[in-house]
């Protein structure tokens, strides 16, 4: 009788799981196994696959385009992950204050990460045109460099003078004292304005016309168009991770900070001794998710490339390499090679996950 109840429960489970088993079985397990099989064969979608052993994997590493794609993927992944983790943490720290209206700000900041990669890519394309907003902003910055320098100098002088004055009065102040800066900043602005009126600082002629996209030129070994994608994607993913960090920060007991404050700990000590260690699970989660997400860069390559855009060699990634070998223009599909590259990509992803399991704090971070 008991056994029968068990069987019945199993049957119910089977019924409830059927759609999932179908999807997982046909579109994941079967597909995964076939990809493994294809990776050991020579297959062009038309004639039957021919077993070639490890030849595809060896061929991959002789293909300059694959090596390029590998380098781009790794570089992109590392740069974007470190940038977005760092900036998202900074932002979360700034937002984790008991301020009125903080929720509204949080909502506004989240905006860039709800839009599609397609729409974001179109915006990227427009921003990074030769006469686009990025070049215009750079030109504006360069043209007003004298003003900015004057402003910084004046601010430093005024702030320094105030701090010295306070110190002589006997109050302990640091150089970045916000109360004093609130006076120094408007004064420095006024001073710069006066200098401009007197003609001592002048707007310079500057017109930056960097061709960001239709170029293969590199900076630090990464092509310009890829830099453009890096900037744009960092911009759109920061908010997502900021929210994760915020949730993590909320979980840190306030009492710890209060105790530390009683012991006279500085903000930096509190950050490095309390915040960072207690945020470790979230930190690892963010880094892992960042790496996994960035390893699969594909859409932007397609959007940024093409007519009037970036040359393929400057933006190709592993994901695109796989696609490009299955559906090459004007050539027979190289499914074996593509599968080998895809499995290589999967291997990279799993490596990241294993490393996080090994070094990160696993379970808590996943929920």
């Amino acid at each position: 009788m008991r056994l029968k109840a068990r069987t019945l429960e199993g049957l119910y489970a089977l019924f409830l799981l059927l759609p999932l088993l179908f999807t997982l079985g046909v579109f994941f397990l079967y597909a995964f196994l076939r990809a493994v099989y294809f990776s050991f064969t020579d297959y062009d979608l038309f004639s039957p696959p021919r077993f070639v052993g490890l030849a595809n994997y060896l061929r991959l590493f002789q293909d300059p385009l694959f090596l390029k794609a590998l380098w781009h993927t790794l570089a992109y992944s590392l740069v974007v992950t470190s940038l977005q983790t760092f900036l998202a943490l900074l932002l979360a720290l700034a937002l984790n204050q008991p301020l009125k209206g903080i929720t509204a700000f949080r909502t506004v900041y989240y905006l860039p990460s709800v839009i599609s990669t397609a729409a974001a890519s179109l915006l990227l394309l427009w921003l990074f045109q030769r006469t686009g907003l990025v070049n215009q902003a750079l030109s504006l910055l360069l043209a007003h460099l004298p003003h900015l320098l004057a402003l910084a100098l004046l601010f430093a002088l005024l702030q320094g003078a105030q701090v010295l004055w306070e110190k002589r009065k006997g109050t302990p102040t640091s150089f970045l004292d916000p109360a004093l800066a609130l006076l120094s900043l408007p004064l420095a602005l006024l001073g710069t304005y006066a200098l401009d009126l007197l003609g001592l600082v002048q707007v310079r002629e500057a017109r930056v016309e960097v061709p960001w996209l239709p170029t293969s030129a590199t900076f630090l070994g990464i092509p310009y168009p890829l830099w453009a994608i890096i900037l744009m994607n960092t911009y759109t993913t920061i908010p997502t991770f900021m929210v994760l960090f915020l949730a993590g920060l909320k979980g840190i007991p306030k009492t710890l900070y209060e105790a530390a404050a009683l012991d006279g700990a500085s903000p930096w000590v509190m950050f490095s001794r309390i915040t960072v260690p207690l945020l470790r699970p979230v930190l690892f989660l963010v880094i892992t998710l960042g790496l996994i997400g960035t390893l699969q860069l594909f859409d932007q390559v397609l959007f940024v490339g093409g007519s009037g855009g970036a040359p393929l060699e400057a933006t190709i990634t592993l994901a695109y390499y796989v696609y490009g070998n299955v559906f090459p223009s004007g050539a027979a599909p190289r499914v074996g090679l593509a599968s080998a590259a895809a499995l290589f990509l999967a291997g990279l992803t799993l490596l990241v996950v294993l490393l996080q399991r090994r070094f990160g704090v696993s379970e808590r971070g996943w929920t």
């Binding site: 700034a94 860039p112 709800v114 179109l122």
Partner: protein, 454 residues
């Protein structure tokens, strides 16, 4: 530290914090705002970037409304119908008291670039008559340092003959060197040949047609070659349809699977869950080759039983291959585990089957989780690119919106028609932005629930 000093410091700190928050806000919203403004311009890549362009002036909105009303009776989208007449006034600065010699013409201009250029619309020049320019006023005028005269002209555009409805009536107005356009009923969208030719793409635009001309063009110019139907509209509807079905299947099947994984005991439960996690890590590029072939054969030839050769280029294929995502099951499993067991035990003791327990008792409790899942699934499907890009290749009518945007980018990127590309991008964002505005809590919290993304 005196209390006064402490209060001062507190204020300063708050001021800094808000300043910082505002700066971040500008950073996160600025590019979108600038992009949106640029999408209204005739030339979104103009240098220097200005914020005071004709399309944002209320004076032009009013004029566009009236001209559209007079031209066709439609103040929103304008156009011109037989028997109607519109009047346009322009004022030029000219150093002499004798009026400058103005040349007005209705050019035979192709209505657009890229996809729009293929279609042969009726030319306004064949149907519409232009009367004028006729001088109505001359008076002394000072323009900065220069002394001279203001000459006001009136242009009548009349559609007297019988004929078709005209979507647009372009106008070019050429003035001699030294004459400066001071004002016009409706500001021209372009100044050509060193500012000597003022050019209107449409003198009867209607409010939307003027302020959002790129958006209107996105709908009008991307048309199917066979049927003449608006492709952009089709793509939007397709995206809605697919997202809607996907949300439905995901909600039902993910709750079912999530409940089984969370509550029912069966052999291999742990293994299945680990396998589910594993499937979330593997990039789509690994499985798409086989999935493509499976859909091509109609899922092992099964679809032939229903008289369908292949599932490529069909929504059935797209939906079948993504009935339920691993991430959605994961979210639902987590949620069901958070519900106290006692709730269901009562039902089980009363003899309810697991199915009854799930659909009668647990699911009604799960509305918040289902809501969050629905929104996340909608967003994911609406924005998805890679898999639809593989499955849906032809004809263009079956594309989803992101695929449509790619074909936009390819059709108009070459000719540099950035207004249309940006307009397409912003149009595609609207549903998500509305959803976000209403349910932003779910978006923000959803990240925490489904920390492992699909």
């Amino acid at each position: 530290m005196s209390p006064k000093e402490a209060a001062r410091r507190r204020w300063a700190r708050v001021a800094w914090a808000y300043g910082l928050l505002l700066a971040f806000g500008v950073f996160f919203v600025g590019p979108f705002l600038m992009g949106f403004l640029a999408s209204l311009k005739t030339n979104p890549l103009e240098w220097p970037f200005t914020l005071g362009f004709p399309q944002v002036r209320p004076k032009n909105w009013a004029a566009a409304w009236q001209l559209g009303q007079k031209g066709s009776g439609d103040p929103w989208l304008g156009g011109m119908r037989p028997g109607r007449e519109v009047v346009l006034e322009v004022a030029y600065f000219w150093p002499e008291p004798t009026p400058p010699d103005l040349q007005a013409a209705i050019p035979r201009r192709k209505p657009g670039a890229g996809m729009g250029a293929v279609f042969e619309g009726p030319y306004a020049a064949d149907y519409v008559g232009l009367l004028g320019p006729e001088l109505v006023e001359t008076r002394p005028f000072r323009l900065g340092e220069a002394e001279g005269y203001l000459h006001r002209f009136r242009l009548r555009i009349a559609y007297e003959k019988e004929g078709p409805y005209l979507e647009r009536v372009p106008l070019d107005l050429e003035a001699p060197r030294g004459a400066l356009l001071l004002e016009a009923t409706l500001d021209p969208v372009r100044m050509e040949r060193r500012g000597r030719v003022a050019s209107w793409d449409n003198v009867v635009p209607g409010l939307l047609g003027y302020a959002f001309h790129n958006y209107v063009r996105a709908f009008q110019e991307s048309r199917s070659l066979e049927t003449g139907q608006s492709l952009f509209l089709r793509w939007t509807l397709n995206s809605f349809l697919i997202a809607f079905i996907k949300v439905l299947t995901t909600l039902v099947f993910a709750s079912m699977a999530g409940y089984a994984l969370a509550r029912l005991r069966f052999p291999g439960r742990q293994a299945l869950f680990l396998f589910l996690l594993f499937s979330m890590m593997v990039p789509g590029q690994v499985t798409f080759i086989s999935n493509y072939l499976v859909l091509k054969d109609g899922i092992f030839g099964l679809s032939r039983l229903f008289g369908v050769e292949t599932l490529l280029n069909t929504y059935a294929g797209l939906i079948l291959s993504g009935l339920v995502g691993a991430g959605a099951v994961f979210i639902m499993k987590q949620f069901f585990e958070s519900i106290p067991r006692e709730v269901e035990e009562a039902a089980l003791i009363d003899g309810a089957t697991p199915l009854q327990t799930l659909f009668r008792i647990v699911l009604p409790m799960a509305t918040p989780a289902l809501g969050a899942l629905a929104i996340l699934t909608f967003q994911g499907t609406w924005n998805e690119f890679f898999w639809p890009f593989i499955v849906l290749t032809s004809p263009r009518e079956i594309y989803t919106l992101p695929l449509g945007l790619l074909s936009f980018r390819n059709a108009y990127g070459q000719v540099g028609d950035w207004g249309l590309i940006l307009a397409g991008g912003f149009l595609s964002m609207i549903p998500i932005l509305i959803l976000f505005a209403v349910f932003q809590r779910y978006f923000v919290e959803g990240v925490n629930v489904g920390a492992v993304k699909e």
